[in-house]
């Protein structure tokens, strides 16, 4: 009892037993494979199918109810299986091409049969440029691909390969040779590929598990991920790209992969696939391979999924097609000029284009991944601070969602995909991808809402000025110092501008600025302006009240607190302190080195004057250097060390110095006015910027683009170098 199905074969409906159909399908597929490299493949297959259909028709006419296994097998026997006409092929081909090929065939035959090793020739039958590599391969009885690789590496390495090649090209005689290697050849395996099947081809050639070469190629990626996980602070330590991508190891592997991709041919036909695996290419094994393939197709078609996979394929197709097109265009245009060797050269240039397109694409993809990772790491890094940023359940909830979905999902997704591809697992379906994408979109939305909510919390701004009482220094010189931290600092794994440290229950900010101003009377004064943002005026004022900043005095030395702490429960709302020191004319001030070292400006708002725009700018002085003594004059602060002499002079000649001081004052006033105008402009720009929601990710984003940009330009220069060298090569050849 057999199942009979109807098939549409060559335009006829034919009832056929299912098993017979399988045999037929397999046979046609085997023909397709056999004629894979034949020019008129489709026509040949079509002719044979047409003849089979005719024979089917005849047997049905004779009275058979359907096509049976027997009928199909009989027809196949009369048509012949690929293994039956293997031998005939080579002969027929060689006879067709006229005299030249005839000669070639004879020569080749002799070389193959009689000459055990022979002389070193350039191979005329299998060549990219001059046939040097394949000639050497023929002599050494190895795969020409391997020799080509060695030359390619020599060219990329030191350029010596070019000269050696040209030298050999000149020295060696050309001769058509017949392939004398019956063993394995190195191919790219299109059946099991992540990018181009290089790794799986290598694993087939060396007979090792597929994940080994894959892991080696993925190593820079894996090590990059590992290093970014282990070194939480790498983001602040400088850009991680030179080390990972352009570092000798990672960079080389990228280049090597690209070269391998370009040089190693893809195993397209069944016989090539067998050569790849090192099985003896007799046509029975071809049959087995095809059977395997067919079964593989079935299961694959069922299991196929995973949009990542498709993307990777699209990606590679797109690149190879554009490269091919360009290469072809190029070739056809200049083919006349360099007909003999031109094809080879342009083939190679095409290869190089391809390799570098892929190289750059790989780097961009990698950079994106690293950037994503950096976001995640930065997110985790900032996370302990969340209590100081976030208010209420919803913001916390959104923060977690953002971290997990927006940042975590892509990283997990990519890692899983990578591991899967390395291990050669091919399951997975589309719904997983959609779920991941959906989760990511959710994360994106929550990130947006979170940013908006936080920005609202920074909406209002308040400040509070506090007079600080100090005793006048006897010497007429005030020294400002910052003591060592009173707060014990727990582990320094997290560092950020303006944040001094974190303890378990409070956050210490050292967002303190010092502002030197001319005093209106003959006394030193000090005041501290605390400022903060908040969702509204009252909450901003509340935030200010929570800040404690104090100073203490010891003789002529004033100690400024190292920072102010935010208690748990108080939120970070861009709080800051401006300490204004009023210096009377003729008195001196020294800002100790510790001031600059220990007080940081947290310039989230970058503004110079948004809290004191109403004050007299002419008297402001921000650009102080630490550890330098200044003296307040009518024209502003002056360094005492530079003008030591003039200071002494002025002591001797009071009148003269007064005149000078007046001139200076006038001059400096004009300059300061100009500066004031400039700064006001700046401030306006900044205010505009401030109106945009404050988004902490923006900060990182800027860093990321800044790092990617130089990386890309570096590629371009490399590409140009290679092109240059090849122009040179072309000139030499022509």
């Amino acid at each position: 009892m057999k199942k009979v199905i109807n098939i549409n074969f060559q335009g006829r409906v034919i009832p056929i037993e299912e098993t017979a159909y399988d045999i037929l399908k397999q046979y046609v597929e085997s023909l397709r494979r056999f004629f894979a490299n034949e020019e008129g493949r489709d026509e040949i297959i079509n002719d044979i199918e047409g003849r089979i259909a005719e024979l089917f028709g005849e047997s049905l006419k004779k009275g058979e109810t359907c096509i049976t296994d027997e009928t199909v097998n009989k027809i196949i026997a009369s048509m012949g299986r690929p293994e039956d006409f293997e031998g005939e092929e080579a002969n027929v081909k060689s006879q067709l091409g006229g005299e030249g090929n005839q000669q070639q065939y004879n020569n080749g035959y002799n070389a193959y049969a009689n000459d055990p090793r022979g002389r070193l020739y350039r191979n005329d039958t299998d060549k990219l440029l001059g046939g040097v590599c394949s000639g050497i391969a023929n002599y050494l009885r190895v795969d020409p691909t391997i020799v080509r690789l060695v030359f390619a590496l020599m060219v990329f390495g030191a350029g010596t390969g070019i000269f050696l090649y040209i030298l050999l090209w000149i020295i060696l005689p050309s001769k058509p040779l017949v392939t004398n290697i019956s063993s394995k050849r190195l191919y790219r395996n299109p059946d099991e590929k992540v990018i181009a099947g290089v790794a799986s081809g290598i694993s087939a050639y060396f007979d090792i598990a597929i994940w080994i070469p894959r892991l080696i190629f993925a190593l820079p990626l894996v090590s990059g991920i590992a290093s970014s996980i282990f070194r939480h602070s790498f983001w602040w330590d400088g850009d991680p790209f030179p080390g990972v991508v352009f570092g000798s190891f990672g960079g080389t592997l990228f280049v090597v992969y690209a070269i391998l991709w370009a040089v190693i041919p893809e195993a397209k036909s069944a016989s090539e696939k067998l050569e790849m695996r090192g099985e003896k290419v007799d046509l029975n094994t071809i049959k087995n391979t095809i059977q395997e393939d067919l079964e593989g197709f079935k299961s694959r078609a069922e299991k196929w999924g995973g949009e990542v996979n498709e993307k990777a394929q699209e990606w590679s197709k797109e690149f190879s097609s554009t490269v091919n097109e360009k290469g072809k265009q190029f070739t056809s245009e200049v083919n006349y000029a360099a007909k003999k060797t031109g094809g080879g050269i342009f083939k190679i240039i095409g290869f190089i284009f391809k390799a570098f397109f892929l190289f750059i694409a790989g780097i961009i993809a990698f950079a994106l991944l690293v950037a994503l990772l950096a976001f995640l790491v930065a997110g985790i890094g900032v996370f302990p601070l969340k209590n100081f940023f976030l208010e209420g359940f919803w913001q916390n909830f959104l923060a977690w969602t953002t971290l997990l979905l927006f940042l975590g999902v892509p990283v997990i997704g990519f890692t899983t995909w990578l591991i899967r591809r390395i291990m050669g697992v091919k399951s997975g379906n589309k719904s997983v991808g959609f779920t991941f994408a959906g989760m990511w979109v959710l994360g994106l939305i929550s990130a947006g809402i979170l940013a908006f909510m936080i920005a609202e919390n920074f909406d209002a701004r308040a400040r509070d000025k506090q007079q600080l009482t100090i005793t006048q220094p006897v010497s007429g010189k005030l020294i400002i110092k910052v003591p060592d931290s009173k707060v014990k600092v727990y582990g320094r794994w997290f560092k950020m501008d303006g944040l001094l440290s974190m303890t378990d229950d409070s956050l210490v900010l050292n967002n303190v600025r010092i502002h030197l101003v001319k005093s209106n009377d003959s006394l030193f004064h000090m005041d501290a302006t605390k400022y903060s943002n908040g969702s509204d005026e009252s909450s901003a004022l509340h935030n200010i009240k929570e800040m404690n900043y104090g100073i203490s005095q010891q003789d002529s030395t004033v100690w400024l607190d190292r920072g102010f702490s935010l208690q748990r429960g108080t939120k970070f709302r861009n709080q800051g302190v401006v300490v204004t020191i009023y210096i009377p004319i003729g008195k001196r001030i020294l800002l100790d080195r510790t001031v600059q070292r220990r007080l940081n400006h947290f310039e989230l708002n970058n503004g110079h004057n948004d809290w004191d725009s109403d004050e007299d700018w002419d008297n402001n002085f921000y650009g102080w250097d630490s550890d330098v003594e200044y003296k307040m004059t009518a024209g502003g602060l002056e360094r005492t060390d530079k003008k030591q002499k003039s200071v002494e002079e002025s002591n001797n000649d009071e009148n003269n110095s007064n005149q000078e001081a007046l001139d200076n004052y006038k001059k400096s006033k004009e300059e300061l006015k100009k500066e004031y105008e400039k700064k006001q402009k700046e401030a306006e720009d900044l205010k505009k910027e401030l109106e945009k929601p404050i988004d902490s990710t923006q900060y990182h984003y800027k860093k990321v683009t800044a790092i990617i940009a130089p990386a890309v330009t570096e590629d371009n220069t490399q590409l140009e170098d290679i092109l240059d060298s090849h122009m040179l090569l072309m000139q030499m050849v022509l």
């Binding site: 002719d47 003849r51 005719e54 028709g57 012949g80 027929v92």
Partner: protein, 122 residues
């Protein structure tokens, strides 16, 4: 040396010549061609014939026309082109030369021993 291999090499060498000579005589359908060759005791697989015909056609030596068939899809009938005739002429000349040469060499020639004797005599 594999005897079978040598035999098939010899046979296949003239295959193309035979096919062309059949087509030269008039329009022909591939499976009829196979039958005619079979009748002449020259066996060829249809599966080998189709690619060969396609190649000859692509080389401009043959051309074909479609003929409707009542037992299956339309059939392709092959005819020879002028170029094909020229090509065939060349092959025919080569074949004649070759046949003569082979004939001359493989015949047990009566004079040969005498020349050898002549050589020995002096």
């Amino acid at each position: 040396m594999d005897i079978q291999n040598t035999q098939s090499q010899m046979r296949k060498g003239v295959l193309e010549f035979c096919i062309l000579s059949i087509i030269r005589q008039g329009e022909v359908y591939p499976s009829d061609l196979v039958d005619r060759m079979k009748a002449a005791n020259l066996h060829i697989l249809e599966g080998t014939l189709y690619p060969l015909l396609t190649r000859l056609k692509n080389a401009g030596l043959l051309t074909y026309r479609w003929v409707e068939s009542n037992s299956g899809p339309p059939r392709k009938y092959f005819v020879m082109t002028d170029l094909g005739l020229e090509f065939y002429g060349e092959l025919e000349r080569t074949w004649k030369e070759l046949a003569d040469a082979v004939h001359t060499l493989t015949q047990p020639v009566a004079e040969q021993p005498t020349t050898e004797e002549n050589q020995h005599q002096p």
